[in-house]
C-alpha cells in the first residue's frame, strides 16, 4: 500500500464504516485507488464488497437504514457529504444484470443520462455523444445501423456494453462495475473483459467480481474483503501469485467462498 501512495490517488477511502441496523457491513476500511487503472474487489458473498462499491455513488442510500461514517475522497472532494446526484455523474455504475431501458431506442439509452435529467442534446451533439460512447464501449460497429431500434433485441453481452456506453456518455471519472459478467455467457464475458482492458486507459475502474480468474486477467490492483474487513490490497501481479495474508491465500486457492 505504501507503494501506491507515491502517485496521487483518484479515490481515497478513510476509515469507512457502514452499519445496517445493528449489523456492521464494513469495518474501518482504508484504501486508495490509483488513477486510470483497474481495481478488482473480491471476496465471498456477503463480505461487503457490493456495499463497498455502492457507497461510492451513494446507491446504498436507496435501501434504507445504512449508517455510514468515514470519508471517501474523489480528487479531494468528500463523496459522502457531497450532493449524491452530482456524485453519480462523476462515478458511473454498471450492474450485475444488463438493464438498458426497455422502452428506449439504443441511441436514447446512450443519451439517457442527459434525458433523465431533463437535458435534450441537439441532433449533432447527440449523434456525436452516441457514436463516441458506443465506440468506447466497442459496440458501434454492431449497432450503428439500428440506433433507432429498441435495446431489447440486443444479446445479453451487447446489452451490457450498451449499459457501459450509457455510463460513459456522461464522462464519469470512475466506473463501478458490479459483477458485470455474472449474468453473461463466456463469449460475452470475454468481450466485456477486453473492453475493460481498453477502458482502464482512460477511466478508473472498480470491478466487483466473483470470478477470480477474471480478476486475475484484468486487474492492476486487487482487494480482498472478508466479513466486512479489508484483508489485503496489492498490485495484481503479486496479489494473485503471492498473497501475504493466509486468508487471501485460502480464498484464492478455493478453500472457501
Amino acid at each position: 500500500m505504501e507503494a501506491l501512495a507515491a502517485e496521487k490517488p483518484i479515490l481515497d477511502v478513510r476509515s469507512l464504516n457502514v452499519v445496517y441496523g445493528e449489523t456492521p457491513a464494513l469495518k474501518e476500511i482504508n484504501i486508495s485507488f490509483a488513477r486510470n487503472s483497474l481495481h478488482s474487489i473480491i471476496g465471498p458473498s456477503g463480505c461487503g464488497k457490493s456495499t463497498f462499491v455502492r457507497c461510492f455513488n451513494r446507491m446504498h442510500e436507496l435501501q434504507g437504514e445504512a449508517k455510514v461514517t468515514g470519508q471517501i475522497l474523489l480528487d479531494g472532494d468528500d463523496i459522502l457529504t457531497d450532493d449524491p446526484f452530482s456524485v453519480r455523474l462523476r462515478i458511473g455504475m454498471v450492474f450485475q444484470r444488463p438493464n438498458p431501458f426497455p422502452s428506449l431506442s439504443i441511441a436514447d439509452n446512450v443519451l439517457s443520462g442527459f434525458l433523465i435529467n431533463g437535458i435534450r442534446p441537439k441532433k449533432d451533439e447527440a449523434d456525436a455523444i452516441v457514436e463516441t460512447a458506443l465506440r468506447k464501449a466497442s459496440l458501434w460497429d454492431e449497432v450503428k445501423d439500428k440506433l433507432k431500434k429498441r435495446s431489447m433485441f440486443l444479446s445479453g453481452g451487447q446489452q451490457q456494453r450498451l449499459c457501459i456506453a450509457r455510463a460513459l456518455a456522461v464522462e464519469p471519472e470512475v466506473l463501478l462495475l458490479d459483477e458485470p459478467t455474472s449474468a453473461l455467457d463466456p463469449i460475452s464475458t470475454g468481450s466485456i473483459e477486453e473492453l475493460m482492458l481498453e477502458l482502464k486507459k482512460s477511466v478508473t475502474i472498480v470491478l466487483v467480481t466473483h470470478n477470480l480468474s477474471q480478476a486475475g486477467r484484468v486487474s492492476d490492483y486487487a482487494a480482498f474483503f472478508l466479513l466486512g474487513e479489508l484483508i489485503e490490497y496489492g498490485s495484481g501481479s503479486t496479489f494473485f501469485i503471492n498473497p501475504k495474508d493466509s486468508r487471501t491465500d485460502a480464498y484464492l486457492a478455493g478453500r472457501f467462498g
Binding site: L62, F95, S103, I116, N117, R166, V170
Partner: protein
Amino acid sequence: MANLSSKGAGAETLLASPGASAPGGLGKSARGFLARTAERGFRSSLIFSVVLVFAVIVAMMFSLTMFSLPAIQHTGWSIFTGTNWDPANDQFGALPFIVGTILTSVLALIISFPFSLSIALFLGEYQRSGWLASLLTTAIELLAGIPSIIYGAFGLFVMVPLMQQWELTMVSSGVIPLGVGILTASILLAIMIIPYSASLAREVIRLTPQDLKEAAYAMGGSRFAVIRFVTLPYSFSGIFAGQLLAFGRALGETMAVAMVIGNQNIMPEGLFSAGSTIATVIANEYPEASGVHIAALTEIGLILFLITIVFGFAGRIIINRMGMRGTA
C-alpha cells in the same frame, strides 16, 4: 366432461376416473362403491356449478334482450338519439341519460386521477411501509368498504349544501343554486372510485423492476426523474387499465348519484345543471313502470350492461396481459 381432459395438469386429476384414484382392493366392496359415488358426485357438482355460473350469465343477456324487445320494436335506434323521455306519451329518447352517465363518469375520472395517481405513487414508490403508509392503506380500504347509500346520504346532507353555497356566489353568471347536479355527482363519484384505481395502480407501480430504477438513479436522476422516466412508462398500461375499471364502476353507480344529481330527465346544460344517468332513471322509474316503459327501462339497462362489459373487458385484457391477475 370430455372437454375437461384436453388440457392442463389440473384437468388430469379432474378427469381421472373415480376408481383409478382409489388404489387397493376396495373395488368391489360396498365401501368402494360409496367412495366411487362420492367421487362421482363431487366431480359432477363441480361441473354443475361451472355450467350454472355460465348459464346465469348467458340467461341474463337473453332475459334482458327479450324483456327489452317491445321497446326495441317501438323505439328503434332513436333511443340513442332522442332527447325526449316522456313515458306518459310513450316517448323514449334516452340520450340525456347516456350523456349524463358518460359526463359524470368522465368528470369523476378526471377529478379522481390526481388523487389516485398520488396515492398509488405514495404507497407504491415513496412509502411502501411505515405508519403513514398503513394509515393511508386503511383509509383507502375503509373508503372502498363504505356502502354507496352512505356516500349518497353524505352527499345529500353535507356536499349538497356546500355546493349550494358555492353556487350562490355565481348566481350573477346564470348558475341556478340547486346544490344537486352533474358536478356534485361527479365529485362524489370521484371519491368513490379512487380506492379502485389507486389500489390497482399501486400494484403495477410496485412491479416496476428495481434494477431499472437503480439504473436511472445511477445516472444522477432525481426521484421525480426516476418516476417520470422509469416508473410511469413501465406502469402506464396498468394505470390505464385501473382507470378503465374505475370508469366502469362509475358508469354503473346508482344510489349515491341518484341522491345528488337532481333526477331531471333533461339534457344537462352545464356542470351545475341537474340531470340523470341511466342507472338513476332505472332506480327511480322501474318500480312503477309497466308496458313499453318498463321495456324501455330494461333496454337502457341492457345498454349500460353492454357498455360496462366493454370497459371491464378492455381493462381485464390489459391486466391479464401484464400477468397480474388477482390484484384487483
